[in-house]
Amino acid sequence: EAGVTQFPSHSVIEKGQTVTLRCDPISGHDNLYWYRRVMGKEIKFLLHFVKESKQDESGMPNNRFLAERTGGTYSTLKVQPAELEDSGVYFCASSQDRDYEQYFGPGTRLTVT
């Protein structure tokens, strides 16, 4: 069974540009999470989808970040416009039931120059 996949693996963009990250959860997992680690900091929660609904978006840093999960399958995280402090690794995770066993993807490394 395929695990959580993320695309791209690495993205380099200039400040002010837009980037869209994609996450494909494990098939059948209703719960999808976004996390990120910015340079030198801890992994931080961004938001949680249950199917296509946002269950918890308390970790979204500001309105430059927009997450969607149309149809309750894959999810996208758009950053527009990107700022230097957005650089970091963005992780996606999914789980079947609400519990702490979440399956993480390899992450997308975002570099904003």
């Binding site: 999470y33 992994i43 949680h48 918890d56 995770a93 609400r98 702490y100």
Partner: protein, 112 residues
Amino acid sequence: LAKTTQPISMDSYEGQEVNITCSHNNIATNDYITWYQQFPSQGPRFIIQGYKTKVTNEVASLFIPADRKSSTLSLPRVSLSDTAVYYCLVGDLSYNTDKLIFGTGTRLQVFP
């Protein structure tokens, strides 16, 4: 959610048992203790979860004393491939969110 404290780093040699202790003095009655492992360039991976006493699976054991203010992850006979960062997390599944809150983790280096 309860805050956790772990050693920043630990060193070990192949074949040894490694014990990583995590402090969570403010753990609440409904909180569970969960450990994740992360290799470089990969996402975190669930290792083990427990509430009290001892839990064992094919990868590790988790020891939780009666007061639950700390927990110890035990890795038997480590190998070079166990070199990773280990995170201790504490959280309550009964709340309306199961977001994970990561601390700094413990960087384990296993030497030949």
